[in-house]
Symmetry: C2
């Protein structure tokens, strides 16, 4: 049985302009891996309706799940919810349950639920809410698209809210072995190992540091015994 | 005059599995921004020929430039060069000038130019080489696609090799102002500011740290005087 797969859509000019280093991709990749959902593609697009709508449709058609990050706050540049609604040809408006969550939150803080904050209760028709324990304004799931905030702490909390409800598969496990020799010296034996263990994904990730060339060999698979067998072969070929 | 635009294609299971945090996207975004080339989209795909070929074609059709990172080393999982050749229906083989570069490099190091290392001289027909001052094995440009290594130090050196040869536009400059109030309180005035300065891109990036909610307002544009005018208005509205 193969694992469910997924794509991520990062919405944000701040990543593309080089201002901000993305953190959500790295977090989601690790979480999905542990849950047995294979992340197959990530797209980063600008704060442009056409780009967001086209990417949402394309990824939703191709993968079991799509996770988005960014653009669901109260400001003029937060256009994700409207774009997701448009991508699926559905309407969007302020929803009572989302409004009630915000009302309670801002009431407790003695802050007004003004028009800007109320924008965060705009949810596409047919969506279910994703819990946000940090700042309350919810994310949502429409069809197979899970729409979450871009602020890393809130994104992470939303991932924790949604992930247990999704059917996972077998977690991919990995073993890494560091070899302090140039890739060119080890390529042929590693290629032979990859052929001998077709159920494993064997990657070779070179590094160079202080004039030393080497590579980390990462072997990934779902069967720990097969991984162990491959590691024994690798270590015999390249004793440390 | 609008700036040339670009996309990036990151090739690597190690990013999608959550093993490695991507560094090349952040570096390239900053460099392109300074050079006046607008990065509009990034895709991260797995080490799969179909995925690499499809993404290369799609991005090459849509953008002035495409920059790729990863998969051009000597090992079995380095398949980028072959995929780029396939994407454009051209042949690939060991090229004399690339072989000569490798020959000189490995000869100086008293290392054999074995079959694995020689793979790095495989260059698609019609491509031009991109200089690699670090480990010599060249990248290449085929049509509008610039193919570079994934190791960050080598990627950065290759970006430095290729970027001066590309026509740039006006560098996007930005100014940032930090406001220690919740986004919901500042959203309306910031939206009005964005409407008043249509040539600027004004983004609102919330943060929350130690219970404090706030936002960085980032204004981007190519005209420093207009940026200054907008910043005066912003500071008058939200004195620090």
């Amino acid at each position: 049985m193969t694992n469910p797969n997924a794509a991520m859509l990062v919405i944000g000019d701040e990543i593309l302009s080089g201002r901000t280093r993305d953190a959500n991709m790295y977090h989601l990749a690790g979480q999905l891996n542990e849950h047995g959902i294979d992340l197959k593609e990530v797209r980063v697009v600008s704060d442009s309706p056409l780009a967001i709508i086209a990417a949402t449709r394309a990824l939703s058609d191709c993968y079991t799940h799509v996770f988005t990050s960014g653009g669901i706050g109260p400001t003029h540049d937060d256009i994700t919810a409207d774009c997701i609604a448009k991508a699926f040809g559905t309407t969007i408006g302020i929803r009572d349950d989302a409004r009630a969550i915000l009302q309670a939150h801002y009431h407790a803080q003695q802050l007004p639920l003004n028009d800007a904050r109320l924008r965060m209760a705009r949810i596409p028709n047919g969506a279910t809410l994703i819990d946000n324990p940090i700042s309350k304004a919810p994310g949502f799931t429409l069809r197979n698209v899970h729409v979450m905030a871009g602020v890393p702490s809130i994104f992470q909390a939303m991932v924790a809210s949604i992930l247990p409800s999704l059917t996972g598969g077998q977690p991919l496990i990995s073993q890494t072995y560091r070899i302090e020799r140039g890739e060119g010296d080890i390529a042929a034996p590693i290629g032979a190992l990859a052929s001998a263990f077709p159920t494993l994904s064997i990657g070779c990730y070179p590094f160079q540091k202080d004039g030393l060339f080497g590579a980390n060999i990462v072997m990934r698979g779902t069967d720990p015994e097969i991984l162990d067998q491959a590691m024994v072969r690798l270590k015999a070929k390249f004793p440390s």
